[in-house]
C-alpha cells in the first residue's frame, strides 16, 4: 500500500475512533448503557487499528507519523485508557443492575477521549508537520478545556479556577509558536562565517560579456506587453514577450553568448526572465527580490550568459509568476546543433481549460527521417504524453542526455510541471500521433488519426536507461543534508495568516534559508505529506537523483532541475554547490509557491540587496 493510501486509511481509522468514543459517551448520557458498552468496545478496537496505521506510516518515513507518535497518539492513548478505567466498570455494573449508567463519571471521560480522537483527526489538516512543543501545549489545552466544559455541563464539575492552568498552558503554547524564529538552516554543516548582509552582492555575480572562442553573440530584444491569443477559435487576453505566446524561441550553439534586453511595456505587476534549468550566474537568474528588482512598466534589464549547457530549456517570468506564466510570459531555449531531420520544440501550455501544443499544423516528415520532439511542460501541473504509431527513445530529460535509453512503446510519459523530455524516433511509413492527457496534440505523417491509447503503464524514469559513473552517489559523504517536508497548514505567508502550502511547518518567507559553502556536496531529502503533487525546483543547479522512497535510482543517471514529489513520496537528491549566489528553491506548481511553498538557498559570503520578493 502506498504511503498516500496509508495516510487516508489512518485518517479514516482516526475518524472512526473519534466517532466511537464520542458515540459511547452520547449513548451513556442517553441512558443506553448496553449500547455505550458496545461502542466502547468498538472504540478500543479502532484505536488499536489506528496505532498500527500510525506505525505503518512511520515505515514510510518518520515525517509521515511524527504528529501521531509524539502528540495525537499518546493523547488518545491516555484519554482512552482513563475512559476505559473510569467508564468501563460503571457501564458494566449499570448493564448488570439494569440502571441507566449516565453518571458524569462515565459520560465525561468517554467524551474527552472522543475530543482527543477529534484532535488527532484535525491536527494533520490544520497544522501538519512538525508537531512542535507549542502545538502540543495548545492541543492538550484545547482538549482539556473542552473536557472541563463538558464536565461542568454534565453535572457538578470542577470549580472555575481549574480553567486557569489550562488557559496558561494554551497561552504558553501560542507564545512558544511565536518564539521559535530560526532564520538559517546549515544542514549539519558549519554555520555562517560572514555576518548577514555582508559579502559579495548577487547583483555583482553577473555573466560574461563575451562568447567563448569561436562562439557568437545572440542578441534579443524582448518587450513584455499585453496581447491576445487565439485559442481553439476564441480570443483570449494574454501577456507575451514581444506580444507573442510563446515568446520568441531562443536558440544558440554551445559557447555562444546569449544577451537579452528585457523591456516592460505595460505589465503593471512587473516582469523578469528566469532561465529554467539553466545554471546561469546568480545575477542573471531573474528572481525578483533575490537577484534583481522586477522590471516595472517602462523599465529595462539586460541578461547575459554563456550557452554552455546543451539541450532543451525554457524561460519565463518569475515576477508574480503564478499569474504571469499562466498569462503567457514564457518561451523556449534550445542550445546545440539542431538534430538531423525534423527537430521540433513542443511547448505545452494551458489557457483556461484548453491545453495547447505550441507547434501548429502538421509538420512535414517523410518516412525514414529522424525526428526529435522536445516536449516542454510550461504549466503548473504534470502532463501525460503518449506516442502512437512508432517505437521511440526518451533521449534527454531536463536538457541532460540519458545513458543507454532503451526503445519504448505503449507507455505513458508523465512530464512534471516545468520539466522537459526529448523523444527521438525514425519516421515510419504510417502516421505518428502525440496525445497530451488523452487529447490529440501533434500529428506527423499522413493517414487516419489514431485514437488516444488507454491504460498504458507509466514509464518510471528512475529505472530507465543504463547506469553510468557519476561524480557522487548515494554512498557519498555529504557536507550538508537538508530535509524538506511538504504539507499544508495554517501559517503566515508574507505576514498574512493563510491555509498555506508549508515546508517543515512554515511558509515563505519564514522558512529558514539553507546555507551552503562553495564546493560543498549537498544532499536534499524532499518528503510530501500532502495530497497534492509538488514539482520541486532548485534554481542554479541540477540535482542528481539518488533515491525515491528508499529505492535507489537504478537506470541512467538522472540530472534534473524539476522532480515531481507525489503524495506520500520521498526523494533524495544531491548536488555540488558550485554556483555561488542566493537562489530560490521552490515548488513549481506556482500557485503553491505563491501560497508559501518556497525558500532560499544561500552561499556563505553572498548577500542580496533586493527585498520584497515573494514565493512565486
Amino acid at each position: 500500500m502506498s504511503t498516500a493510501q496509508l495516510i487516508a486509511l489512518d485518517l479514516l481509522a482516526t475518524l472512526l475512533a473519534a466517532a466511537g468514543w464520542v458515540g459511547a459517551g452520547v449513548a451513556a448520557a442517553a441512558r443506553h448503557a448496553r449500547a455505550a458498552l458496545a461502542l466502547l468496545a468498538v472504540a478500543i478496537v479502532v484505536t488499536v487499528v489506528r496505532v498500527t496505521t500510525a506505525v505503518a506510516l512511520a515505515t514510510g518515513g518518520w515525517w509521515f507519523a511524527q504528529d501521531r507518535v509524539v502528540l495525537t497518539g499518546p493523547l488518545l492513548g491516555v484519554a482512552g485508557l482513563a475512559a476505559v478505567l473510569l467508564a468501563g466498570p460503571r457501564l458494566l455494573s449499570a448493564v448488570r443492575a439494569g440502571t441507566p449508567g449516565n453518571s458524569p463519571a462515565a459520560v465525561v471521560p468517554l467524551l474527552i477521549a472522543g475530543y482527543a480522537g477529534a484532535a488527532g483527526l484535525l491536527f494533520p489538516f490544520l497544522v501538519g508537520y512538525p508537531a512542535t512543543w507549542g502545538d502540543v501545549l495548545v492541543t492538550v489545552a484545547l482538549v482539556g478545556a473542552a473536557g472541563l466544559v463538558t464536565w461542568r455541563v454534565a453535572g457538578a464539575g470542577p470549580p472555575l479556577w481549574t480553567f486557569l492552568p489550562i488557559l496558561a498552558m494554551g497561552l504558553a503554547g501560542v507564545g512558544a509558536g511565536f518564539a521559535t524564529g530560526v532564520d538559517l538552516d546549515a544542514g549539519g554543516g558549519p554555520e555562517s562565517h560572514h555576518p548577514a548582509g555582508h559579502g559579495v552582492s548577487v547583483a555583482d555575480l553577473r555573466g560574461p560579456t563575451s562568447p567563448a572562442p569561436g562562439g557568437q553573440v545572440r542578441r534579443y530584444e524582448f518587450t513584455a506587453r499585453e496581447t491576445t491569443v487565439n485559442v481553439a477559435g476564441r480570443t483570449v487576453e494574454a501577456w507575451g514577450y514581444n506580444g507573442q505566446v510563446p515568446g520568441p524561441p531562443i536558440t544558440a550553439s554551445q559557447g555562444d553568448l546569449i544577451e537579452v534586453t528585457l523591456h516592460n511595456a505595460d505589465i503593471q505587476r512587473g516582469v523578469t526572465l528566469h532561465w529554467h534549468g539553466y545554471d546561469v550566474p546568480a545575477g542573471e537568474d531573474g528572481a525578483p527580490g533575490v537577484t534583481q528588482d522586477a522590471v516595472p512598466p517602462g523599465g529595462e534589464f539586460v541578461y547575459r550568459f554563456r550557452a554552455d549547457q546543451v539541450g532543451t530549456y525554457w524561460y519565463h517570468t518569475h515576477q508574480a509568476s503564478d499569474v504571469g506564466v499562466k498569462m503567457g510570459l514564457y518561451g523556449t531555449l534550445v542550445v546545440g546543433p539542431p538534430a538531423k531531420g525534423v527537430d521540433l520544440t513542443v511547448p505545452v501550455h494551458t489557457f483556461g481549460s484548453d491545453t495547447v501544443v505550441g507547434t501548429a499544423g502538421t509538420p512535414e516528415a517523410a518516412a525514414g527521417t529522424p525526428v526529435r520532439l522536445r516536449l516542454v511542460n510550461t504549466d503548473s501541473v504534470p502532463h501525460r504524453f503518449t506516442l502512437t504509431g512508432t517505437a521511440y527513445r526518451l533521449v534527454a530529460v531536463d536538457g541532460a542526455d540519458l545513458n543507454g535509453p532503451a526503445e519504448l512503446r505503449e507507455v505513458e510519459l508523465r512530464l512534471p510541471a516545468g520539466g522537459r523530455y526529448d523523444v527521438a524516433f525514425t519516421m515510419p511509413a504510417g502516421p505518428v500521433a502525440l496525445h497530451v492527457d488523452g487529447d490529440p496534440g501533434l500529428r506527423l505523417g499522413t493517414g487516419d488519426q489514431p485514437p488516444a491509447p488507454k491504460g498504458w503503464p507509466e514509464l518510471d524514469i528512475t529505472r530507465y536507461g543504463t547506469p553510468a559513473a557519476t561524480p557522487f552517489g548515494p554512498e557519498s559523504r555529504f557536507d550538508r543534508s537538508f530535509t524538506l517536508v511538504l504539507d499544508r497548514g495554517f501559517a503566515l505567508v508574507d505576514g498574512v495568516p493563510k491555509y498555506a502550502y508549508t515546508i517543515n511547518g512554515r511558509a515563505f518567507p519564514n522558512v529558514p534559508t539553507q546555507l551552503v559553502r562553495e564546493g560543498d556536496l549537498v544532499e536534499m531529502t524532499v518528503a510530501n505529506r500532502s495530497l497534492d503533487t509538488h514539482p520541486w525546483h532548485l534554481h542554479g543547479h541540477r540535482v542528481l537523483v539518488l533515491e525515491r522512497d528508499g529505492r535507489r535510482a537504478s537506470g541512467s543517471p538522472l540530472w534534473l532541475d524539476t522532480f515531481d514529489v507525489r503524495p506520500g513520496e520521498v526523494w533524495r537528491v544531491a548536488f555540488r554547490a558550485d554556483n555561488p549566489g542566493e537562489w530560490m528553491n521552490h515548488c513549481h506548481n506556482l500557485g503553491h509557491a505563491t501560497q508559501g511553498m518556497a525558500l532560499h538557498l544561500r552561499y556563505d559570503g553572498v548577500m542580496t540587496p533586493f527585498h520584497g520578493g515573494h514565493g512565486g
Binding site: 485518517l11 489557457f351 481549460s353 495530497l531 507525489r566
Partner: protein
C-alpha cells in the same frame, strides 16, 4: 444568551445554504481551475467550523441541555467528514492532480450526500435552539400573581 445561540444557529444554517450555492458556482465556473472552488473552500474550512464552534459555546453559556450542546457540534463533525471524503477520494486516485477512476468518483459523490446531513444537523440545531429560547421566555415572563381571595 439564548437569543445569541438562536442567532448563531441561524447564521450557521445560512452559511450552509451559501455553501451549496458556492458549490454550484465552482462546478459551473469556466475555465475550471484551482480558484473555481475558492469561496466554497473558505466557507467550508473556516466560516462553517467557526460558526459551529461559536454556536456550541453560546449553547453551553446559555446552559442548554447537554444533548443540545452536543447536537450543535454535529455540523462541525460532519464537515470534517466532508473534508475526509475529498482526502480519501484523492488518495484512491493517487493525488489531487491525477485523473479520477470509478472508485474515486464513488467516494467523491458522497460529498453531496453528506452535505445534506450537514444541512439537516444545522436545521435541527436551529429548530431546537428556537424551542429552547421560547421555553426561556415562558419561564421568565412574570406570572400574574393571584392574590388569595380575601
Amino acid at each position: 444568551m439564548r437569543r445569541v445561540f438562536v442567532v448563531l444557529s441561524g447564521l450557521l444554517f445560512l452559511a450552509i445554504l451559501a455553501q451549496f450555492y458556492f458549490a454550484a458556482v465552482g462546478a459551473f465556473d469556466r475555465p475550471q481551475d484551482d480558484d473555481s472552488f475558492a469561496l466554497h473552500s473558505i466557507v467550508g474550512m473556516m466560516v462553517i467550523p467557526l460558526l459551529s464552534i461559536l454556536a456550541t459555546v453560546s449553547a453551553a453559556l446559555a446552559r442548554a441541555p447537554g444533548r443540545l450542546i452536543g447536537l450543535s457540534l454535529a455540523p462541525l463533525g460532519l464537515v470534517v467528514v466532508q473534508v475526509l471524503i475529498i482526502v480519501v477520494g484523492n488518495a484512491i486516485s493517487g493525488g489531487s492532480d491525477e485523473d479520477t477512476g470509478a472508485a474515486g468518483l464513488f467516494v467523491f459523490g458522497l460529498h453531496a450526500v453528506n452535505a445534506l446531513l450537514v444541512m439537516g444537523a444545522a436545521g435541527a440545531v436551529l429548530r431546537r435552539a428556537r424551542a429552547f429560547a421560547a421555553e426561556k421566555t415562558t419561564v421568565d415572563t412574570p406570572q400574574p400573581t393571584v392574590s388569595p381571595a380575601a
